[in-house]
Each structure stands twice: as structure tokens, then as C-alpha cells.
């Protein structure tokens, strides 16, 4: 039993943090977010991309470094590592609010890898792994903006009910409508598919994931864990920024961080982040090495905690920054906006608690048994 990243995993995460600290500064994030013209993201050919809500150079670099394919099997052009390593990197991308379409692409790759047909894997994974193709995953009936969803990308739509099927929509399928989300640090699309009818056709636009309408699970669970990991990173950054700020900011002749009300607010932030991170890495471990039967509940718990933590912690960060925290000038709002979108992505806290409750009703307590 070792509830901690291994040395290799820590090294991967440390390298990611270091690179992003240089490449994805708040100044750079702001530059991307404040671009006047935003064009759709998700073009398969990077050279065709002109102005987008993303840092093309960073995205290209991440593709070359192999980050986008870290959890994709080697035979499909990836590095063949696990969800733990992927979560460790994604946490850092959240920490840096990196303006890249990473989250959607790796989530789509996980779903295709674990639930797609062999043909679908061969078709899509190498492109997703290389970062040339954007991906996105969303649930049916969800009108939320989907990070990474673009007309030129690959879109996975999974039935929001636990045992429904999922469909794949390739570039140019016409299911994605570009939208301006509250998070301007990356591109978003809306996927207006309210239901997937296993008896019906997919309008000729898409194909069933895995070839036939079968229940989704292991891929979508992994994608959910990765979204939770980004939320953990976003929340951790909000906490770090806030603590640094309240140590400096003085009122009544003392740093505001010496006020107990402020201290207790920060302590609550740490507690929320710690809960979410523990559940997220536990779920990631379940995905890589644990009991597959326990993965759905572990993933649901992770996302429930991370969605709640992401919202609460970034909101507290704005609050504890005081008036300055409410301004466009302060960077803390990038975190709040990213957290809000991620909290809703692939189901919010309530959605995932319903999954936990359903597992309870089915007789599984949802408790790990100490592995």
C-alpha cells in the first residue's frame, strides 16, 4: 500500500509542472483568451489553424512531447502509460489553465481505446495521440459547452443514463455548434444530441462506439476521472494563489491572512482539494490496477468531489482576493471559469451522486475494501 505517486510518476508530473510554468503563464493565458477573433478549434491539420482560442505552439509542443498520447497504447502511437500518469499531467494542465484542447482529446482517446472497435481504434487513436486531431466527449441531452468540441474534430456522445450506448462523430459530421463559453481560455462546442436510440439510425452522421449499441462504461469512467484531475489542478492553483495573496495583502496594519476567518476559508479550500485529489487518484489507480467492478463508483465519487471542490474552491479564491478578485485584471477568474465548465462536463456533482446512490441501491456499498 503506497498512496502516493511513484518516483517515475512524480517525475512526469514535476516535468509537466516545470514546462507549463514556463509556457502557460497567466500572461500567456490572458493573451490567448483576449484575442479578438476566435475561430473554431479542432482542425485536424495544424497548419490550417489560424486564430483560435488556444496556444497553437504549446499544443504542437505537447503533441511532440507525447503528452497527448501518454495513455494511448504503443501500437496506436502512444506511450502506453496509465490513467494515473495521464491524471498527473492533466492536473498540471489544470493548474496552469493551459490554453490547449488537451482535456477533450485525451478523454476521447480513452473512450475510443476502451470501448471502440478495433477499426475505430486504428482510425482515431494515432491522430488523437499525436495531437493532430482534437477530440471531445459529452453526454446526451447536455447543453453544456464541451471543451475541445469542434467541427473538425472527433466527438464522442455517450448516453447520460448509466447503461446507454455511445456514438462517434468524425470531423465534418455537423453535430458540433461552436459556442462562446464562459471559459475563454480554450475553444468549446455544443453538441445538440438529446438521445441515442439503439433501435434507430445515427442520421448517417455518426457510428456506434464499438460498432454496436452497447453500454458504455470503462472508457467513459476513465474520461470522467481525467476531468476530475483537471479540476483538482485548477482548485490547487486557486488555493496556492489565494494563500500567496493573503500573506501579502495588508489591512488594519496586518496581512489579511492572519485573520482567522480568512485562515479558516483557506483551510476549507485545502480540505476540499485534498478530498477531491484522494478520490481522483484512487479512481485512477482503480482504472489501471484495481477491481474493474469498483471503477464506476470510484470514478463517480471522484467526479462528485472534484466538481464540488472546483466550484467551491475557485469561488472562495475570488472571495478571499476581495474586490480585486472580482476584476478582469486579476487572474483568478480564469480558474473559476475553467472550474465551472469542468464541473458540469460529463455530469456534475448531483449526476455522479445519483450514480453512487444507484450503486448503493444495487447492493454495493461503494466502499473500497482496503483493496
Amino acid at each position: 500500500m503506497r498512496f502516493e505517486l511513484s518516483e517515475d510518476q512524480q517525475e512526469i508530473q514535476g516535468a509537466a509542472r516545470e514546462l507549463l510554468a514556463a509556457r502557460s503563464t497567466f500572461a500567456r493565458v490572458r493573451e490567448v483568451a483576449e484575442r479578438e477573433e476566435a475561430a473554431p478549434t479542432g482542425m485536424p491539420d495544424l497548419s490550417a489553424v489560424t486564430t483560435t482560442r488556444e496556444d497553437e505552439a504549446l499544443w504542437k509542443e505537447l503533441g511532440e512531447l507525447g503528452w497527448t498520447g501518454i495513455a494511448v497504447p504503443e501500437e496506436h502511437g502512444g506511450q502506453g502509460l496509465g490513467v494515473i500518469e495521464l491524471a498527473a499531467i492533466t492536473e498540471e494542465l489544470g493548474y496552469a489553465v493551459a490554453p490547449v484542447p488537451f482535456l477533450g482529446s485525451v478523454a476521447a482517446a480513452l473512450v475510443v481505446q476502451h470501448e471502440g472497435s478495433e477499426e475505430q481504434r486504428e482510425d482515431w487513436l494515432p491522430h488523437l495521440a499525436a495531437g493532430g486531431l482534437r477530440g471531445a466527449v459529452t453526454l446526451t441531452g447536455d447543453r453544456a459547452p464541451v471543451p475541445g468540441a469542434a467541427e473538425g474534430g472527433l466527438t464522442v456522445v455517450a448516453d447520460a443514463a448509466a447503461n446507454g450506448p455511445a456514438a462517434l462523430y468524425g470531423p465534418g459530421s455537423g453535430v458540433v455548434e461552436e459556442v462562446d463559453a464562459i471559459d475563454p481560455t480554450r475553444g468549446h462546442g455544443r453538441v445538440a444530441i438529446d438521445a441515442l436510440d439503439p433501435e434507430g439510425e445515427l442520421d448517417g452522421r455518426g457510428e456506434w462506439l464499438g460498432g454496436t449499441p452497447t453500454a458504455t462504461g470503462p472508457g467513459l469512467d476513465r474520461a470522467t476521472i481525467v476531468v476530475a484531475a483537471e479540476l483538482v489542478g485548477v482548485a490547487q492553483r486557486a488555493l496556492d494563489m489565494t494563500v500567496a495573496y493573503v500573506k501579502e495583502r495588508r489591512q488594519f496594519g496586518v496581512p489579511v491572512g492572519s485573520f482567522q476567518a480568512v485562515q479558516h476559508g483557506a483551510a476549507q479550500m485545502l480540505r476540499d482539494v485534498t478530498m477531491a485529489r484522494s478520490l481522483t487518484y484512487h479512481a485512477a489507480w482503480m482504472a489501471d490496477a484495481g477491481d474493474p467492478a469498483q471503477l464506476p463508483v470510484a470514478a463517480a465519487m471522484a467526479k462528485a468531489a472534484a466538481s464540488d471542490a472546483g466550484r467551491a474552491v475557485t469561488a472562495a479564491a475570488v472571495q478571499l482576493h476581495g474586490g480585486i478578485g472580482f476584476t478582469w485584471e486579476a487572474d483568478v477568474h480564469w480558474l473559476l471559469k475553467r472550474a465551472q465548465v469542468d464541473a458540469a462536463l460529463l455530469g456534475g456533482g448531483g449526476h455522479h451522486r445519483r450514480r453512487v446512490a444507484a450503486a448503493q441501491a444495487a447492493g454495493g456499498s461503494g466502499s473500497g475494501s482496503g483493496a
Binding site: 503506497r2 502516493e4 496586518v254 485562515q263 483551510a267 485534498t274 451522486r353 456499498s365 473500497g368
Partner: protein, 382 residues
């Protein structure tokens, strides 16, 4: 990340499970009595049974009757005890706090005299740290010990002392130097409770139970040989006790929480209340929190095993546990209905008892202060 147990740990767990099946609640252990004194006798007998199976102090070295178990094995022990629905041994304070503190700070004569009777429950312990004006503010301890010949004469008052009415020994912190700065003038003693000058009065709580006591010390005597860790070192020695307190109980408490939650889920399902989406959401939230507690306990343990000291999880875990338990008992009232508001047992008792969770062992406010100042490095509070 590696959340699997080693073959040795699995063997340890299996051996314990087998033993518990025979001797625990499913086997030879009689049901828990309701009368307080009978309950104590019952838990004391249970500790003797544990001791006979060499399970009383699993983390104690083998030469003093333990198993020399690793931290992980100790955690497994508590998880399994909880899973079997078995009670804690009677003298938790002796096993988890006094014994380990003596092993670090006690001299040979003290260890020889005091350790053997702890695991067998022949002599039990209480903890004389808190005072009416010194709860979380440990430096404000006023109880005085004055040297007279080769004895110390103690005068003062202690409070929140659980088990005092049954205890032979008390881990007592008293002021031995009035002039030294707050934390410097304290000394850690072992006080014999069975003497004149020690007056124990039950302190009835909001549950109606006298779980705690007040102790009035008026000329009580402690031989010089019962000073632990040297005169003036009381603060340092007491810290050992407090660290053990935070680390030791986490596993048992989270498993107890899990048992309570399973019981509540069963009741909610039996009554159909689990179908109410609001109830279902709150139950699921409790599952999320309880699982987070389990993982944070293991995470804290990894930190100790890897770096020799606990991570920040201790205070977070204590706070999250107390809050979650309080949410749980409050939900129980909503699930069970007004039935839970009658009587003095079951959920009615738990509802009231849980109010103490966020106060005992360091209030939630203090835990937040610790987290803010020592973990997040924020400026000292005001």
C-alpha cells in the same frame, strides 16, 4: 501508486479475521450491556480476550507483549476490528497514548513497572491534560506540582477526563516552574489515582451520560521517580501523546463511520426513504466523504512510512470525520423520522453524542488554525 496489500499484510489480515470470527461479536463476545459500569467491565474483558490472542497492542514491540506490527498492519487491525463490529479495547488511552509515550520517554524502571499491566487491562489509564481554563491552550495549564523532598505535591483541577473513575494511572501535565515561559515550565507525571487528594466527579454530558469527569487535586503526591522525560519537558512529552492520539484513532473512526452509514442506508432502503432523491443525494454524499476519509487515512499513513512524519491529513481528517458523522446522524433523524427523537439510545443517543465530535480532541476551529498556519504557512492568527 500502489494500493494493494503485501502477502504478509494479507496474511496478517486473514489471521485476524479468523480470530475475530471466533472471539468477536459473531463468536464468543456477549452483546454490549447498556449500564455504564457493566459496559466498562465488558470492554475490559474484551481487552483481556484480545490480549490472550496477542491482539491488544499490535503495534507494541514483541518484548513488551505486542506484535511489533507495522503502521499498515496496525491500520488493518483497526479496520478489521471495525468491520467485525467489535468494540475498542477498554484502555485505549493506555494502549495508544500512555504506553507509546512511556516507550519514548520513560526510564527503565517506569517501563518495567507500568507497561506490563496496560495490555492486560489490569491497570488502566486516563489523561490529565485539559483544564477549565486550558483546553486547546495547553500553555495555560495551571495545576501546580511543588517538590517536597523526593515527592511532588499536586494542586489543581483537570476536566474532560474520560475513564478517570476506573483508572489506576493518570498522564498528568502540571506546572513545575511558575517563572518559566508558558510551555517551558510544564512537567509530565504519572499520577496514582488511588490516593487521598484525588477527587473524581462525574461530568454529565448532553446525552445524560457521565462519560467524562472532573478531577480535583488537592495535595496529591507523586514520587520523583514518576516524572516522565525530565522536569520542564512536559510540553515535548505531551506532544508525543497528542501525535499518537491523532494518528491512532483515524482508522477505527472511519470504519465506525462506515458501519453507521451502512446501517443508515439499510434503514433508508427498508423504509423506502432511499427513493427520495434528496435523501439519496445526502446518503451518496456521505459515501463520498466516508471513502475520502478512508483514503486520506491511508495517505497519511504513507507519509509516515515514507518520511517518518504525518502529512497534513491528520487535522483535515479529524475535521472531516467529525463533520461527516454529524451530517450522518442528522440525516438518520430525517430517514428514521421522529422515532429517532425518543429514548436515550440508538440514533437519539448518536445525534446528541455527535455534537461532541467537533469539540473533543481539538475543536474544528483549532484544526482549521493548525491547517492554515502549519500546513498552508499563513501568518499567525488573531
Amino acid at each position: 501508486m500502489d494500493l494493494t496489500f503485501t502477502p504478509e499484510q494479507l496474511a496478517f489480515r486473514d489471521e485476524l479475521r479468523t480470530w475475530l470470527r471466533e472471539h468477536g461479536p459473531a463468536g464468543a463476545l456477549p452483546p454490549e450491556p447498556t449500564d455504564e459500569d457493566e459496559q466498562w467491565a465488558w470492554r475490559r474483558a474484551w481487552q483481556r480476550t484480545l490480549h490472550e490472542g496477542r491482539w491488544a497492542g499490535v503495534h507494541w514491540p514483541t518484548e513488551v507483549g505486542g506484535r511489533g506490527a507495522t503502521l499498515s498492519e496496525t491500520a488493518i487491525f483497526f479496520e478489521e476490528l471495525g468491520r467485525a463490529g467489535a468494540p475498542l479495547p477498554a484502555d485505549v488511552l493506555g494502549i495508544l497514548l500512555a504506553g507509546p509515550t512511556l516507550m519514548v520517554w520513560g526510564d527503565d524502571a517506569q517501563k518495567e513497572r507500568l507497561l506490563p499491566t496496560i495490555l492486560s487491562a489490569d491497570e488502566t489509564w486516563c489523561q490529565g491534560f485539559s483544564e477549565p481554563d486550558a483546553g486547546s491552550d495547553f500553555g495555560a495549564v495551571k495545576t501546580r506540582a511543588v517538590k517536597e523532598g523526593d515527592e511532588w505535591v499536586v494542586t489543581g483541577q483537570k476536566v474532560w477526563t474520560s475513564g478517570a473513575q476506573y483508572a489506576k494511572w493518570c498522564m498528568l501535565v502540571a506546572r513545575t516552574d511558575q517563572d518559566a515561559p508558558k510551555h517551558k515550565g510544564l512537567t509530565y507525571f504519572v499520577l496514582d489515582m488511588e490516593q487521598e487528594g484525588v477527587d473524581i466527579r462525574p461530568l454529565v454530558q448532553i446525552t445524560g451520560h457521565p462519560e467524562f469527569n472532573e478531577i480535583f487535586l488537592d495535595g496529591a503526591r507523586i514520587p520523583d521517580s514518576m516524572v516522565v522525560g525530565g522536569v520542564g519537558n512536559g510540553w515535548k512529552v505531551a506532544l508525543t501523546t497528542l501525535m499518537n492520539e491523532r494518528a491512532g484513532l483515524a482508522f477505527f473512526l472511519q470504519v465506525r463511520l462506515r458501519q453507521q452509514l451502512d446501517r443508515l442506508v439499510a434503514e433508508a432502503q427498508a423504509t423506502g426513504r432511499a427513493d427520495d432523491p434528496l435523501i439519496a443525494d445526502r446518503l451518496a454524499d456521505l459515501h463520498v466523504r466516508t471513502e475520502a476519509l478512508r483514503l486520506m487515512a491511508w495517505k497519511g499513513l504513507t507519509a509516515i512510512e515514507q518520511y517518518g512524519q504525518p502529512g497534513p491529513e491528520g487535522s483535515l481528517t479529524k475535521w472531516l470525520w467529525s463533520e461527516t458523522n454529524q451530517l450522518l446522524v442528522q440525516l438518520a433523524v430525517d430517514v428514521v423520522g421522529s422515532e429517532a427523537l425518543t429514548g436515550n439510545a440508538g440514533w437519539a443517543f448518536e445525534l446528541l453524542r455527535a455534537r461532541g465530535n467537533s469539540i473533543e480532541g481539538g475543536t474544528t476551529e483549532i484544526q482549521k488554525n493548525i491547517v492554515a498556519e502549519r500546513v498552508l504557512g499563513m501568518p499567525r492568527g488573531r
